[in-house]
């Protein structure tokens, strides 16, 4: 009997450690009842960084709306190749090109590594210099491209950066998007998870994250400052795309609002394509040299 208990305990430990390790790339995972907060959050990060797909192509726009209603718009084209390659530690590579007038031609190439403690490598094509510059990684708490998101909200926050507590399961009350006035995810079953940063002091003390059971995406993120006041929220609309018979969760809309100054950012992906066979050659410095603008 003792041996059976030990064996079961060992199995649980093994199962747990398998989950605590990286999820296997190019698989579809969905959070299920009975999972721990850590397991759910691993899936949430997996979905956020599209690790289920070999590549993704996105065309979209970002709207920056200030308190007075004044709107700035940036159009982008984004490509990502997921590698999950241990030999050179590459998790995925991103190429983002700006297509709107004031910043046309500006492009960034970013390599993200598997090692969670390692910063990204970023190269920038600067049209006014017509040259590539390797740039220092922005600080995680800096704003991302002038939006209401921080760099880590969009790019760099990793599973290892926070501790997680499962608050419970609830139906999401719904979010009415300020961009298109539609209500999303009304009564969608979700896990509610409290995320606390390991870094202290930090610009937020905790996040309350609603993770959609259907897609595994973190659809609503409330952020609290060190004094416990809610200062920002981020909504994400995930939709399921059928690709080669699999259900791929895609981020269609991301909307964030800074409650301190009522500034809002909405990112809308108007074209989303998965598995289009992007070559890794496109994610090298030479791709930036080929820029024309």
């Amino acid at each position: 009997m003792k041996k059976i208990i030990l064996l079961m305990a060992a199995m649980i430990l093994v199962t747990g450690s398998v989950f605590a390790a990286e999820l296997e790339y190019f698989q579809i995972y969905k959070p299920k009842d009975g999972m721990t907060a850590d397991e759910i959050m691993q899936i949430e990060y997996f979905v956020k960084y599209t690790k289920f797909a070999h590549d993704v192509y996105l065309e979209g726009k970002a709207l920056f709306v200030d308190k007075s209603g004044s709107v700035l718009e940036k159009e982008t084209l984004r490509e990502r190749i997921t590698l999950g390659r241990i030999s050179d530690d590459i998790a995925y590579k991103d190429l983002v090109m700006f297509t709107s007038p004031q910043v046309k031609g500006l492009a960034t190439l970013t390599w993200t590594y598997l090692n969670p403690k390692r910063q990204q490598d970023t190269w920038l094509w600067i049209p006014s210099l017509k040259k590539i510059r390797k740039i220092s990684a922005s600080n995680a708490d800096d704003t991302f491209m002038g939006s209401d998101f921080t760099v880590e909200d969009i790019l760099t926050r990793r599973f290892e950066d926070e501790t997680y507590t499962l608050i419970g399961t609830q139906n999401f009350p719904g979010y009415t998007c300020e961009y298109d006035k539609k209500t999303y995810f009304k009564d969608a079953p979700c896990f509610v998870i409290e995320c606390k940063p390991k870094r202290s002091p930090w610009y937020y003390s905790k996040r309350i994250l609603w993770v959609d059971k259907n897609t595994g995406g973190g659809i609503y993120d409330e952020m609290y400052d060190p004094l416990g006041r809610k200062f920002k929220y981020i909504f994400k609309d995930f939709e399921i795309y059928k690709v080669n018979g699999k259900d791929y969760p895609a981020q269609v809309i991301i909307e964030g609002k800074d409650l301190r100054n009522s500034h809002r950012t909405t990112i809308v992906n108007t074209v989303i394509k998965f598995e289009i066979g992007l070559s890794e050659d496109l994610f090298a410095e030479r791709a930036l040299i080929q820029s024309r603008w």
């Binding site: 403690k117 800096d142 002038g146």
Partner: protein, 466 residues
Amino acid sequence: MKKHILILIFLLFLCVSFAYAEEKFDFSGYVKSEVSLRTNGDANTTLDKFKNFVDLAGQYKIKGDELVFFAHTRYWYDAAYGLNDKLDPVQHYMGHIQRTDWLRDCYLDYTNGPWFLRLGKQQVSWGQADGVSILDRVNPSDLTEYWLPDIADIRIPLWMANINYSPKLNSNLQVLIIPDFEQSTAAPPGSPFAFRSYNLFTAFKNRWEAMGNVLNANIYYPAKKFENSKIGMQWQDRIGDWDYTLNYLYGYDYLARTYLDSTAGGGTIQNYGRRFKIDQMVGGSLNHSFTEESPLKGVTLRSDLAVYINEPTYYGNATTGSSAGVNRWNNIFWLVGMDRYFFTKWLTSFQYAQYIMEHKKTGYKNSTTGIPYVTLNTYTNGPQDKLENIFSLKISSHFMNDRLLPELLWSFTDDNQGRISPKLSYQVNDNIWLTLGYHYFYGSRLDSNGEFRDENQLYTTMKYAF
């Protein structure tokens, strides 16, 4: 005739419309107005620049991304040269765009697997340095406004074949064949940023001719032959997390040097020739971001090194600013730069460079006075140090969701001369940017920045992009 032109324009419009509808055609452009006021010197505040630009660029995808045609045109005129009487003598050259300068880019891109060809008029950028051309010498430079404009506007595009082959991931071999030739340009005497050496030569010419003598100055361009093409090569690769390039450039230097060819009439007639000389550049660049946990995490390191072989260098009398001849020396220019964010959003960029002249003891001296000659600064005809230490510090940030961008650039050398340029840019809406800035020059008139100590400028820019 008019009817035919109208039909042609209509057909062109129709073609562009169809291409645009098929997403084969894309374009962008801007109109921009730059106004500068000189705030010091021998006069009250004067209008130095009222330059207006129209810029239009377009691409046509002939065969998807495999074959693309790109053209970029720009027209400008500077109204200050018509409004400010003091600038009248140089109105023709500085007030209007010259010759074919309106065509900034015109090339065909061909991409196929590891091959990438860019054939046509273009500019090529080498190296990692900011604001200092160490490896960035593929194209000639337009220094009519010193080094103040964006570097992409300083480079003078040339017709060339730019051939690239990528034998393996993250590597690239670039070969440049440049049969086209343009000389680097400088502002003529009488313009705000005319180099002192240029002013001195013109003053000497005027004095000489006022005495009833004759001074002939002819410029001799390299013959337009294919064998006179400039050749460039760059190998780019990574070793671990370090990016590096190896560079080589061979051909005619874009800067003409002045030689006294002959004298006649008992010395009253002097014949000068301005010639371009062949030299070589061998060098490389390196960059690396420290991404791992360490005290340097977050730092990006950049470095350029170039050896100029047979670089023509003036020598002469620095006190009078007169050149006695040209030596061909092997000089070294290297730079190391570091970038890092501080206090979340303040990007600090520091560069340190050294220009090391071979500086052989020339043994030359003035035959009359016996005073030994020294090496001269090409731009000022002042003394050129054997070792020049050059520094720059740039701090930039962003506020109001990137609408407001402050920047401060301080570049200086160990001769206590330099330039301080603060700048504030504001994005009004999706199309309009406003910029307000100041250029403050200080130091000796014999040094590169100090020579413009009376040319401090307050400037504004308004740009409408579409």
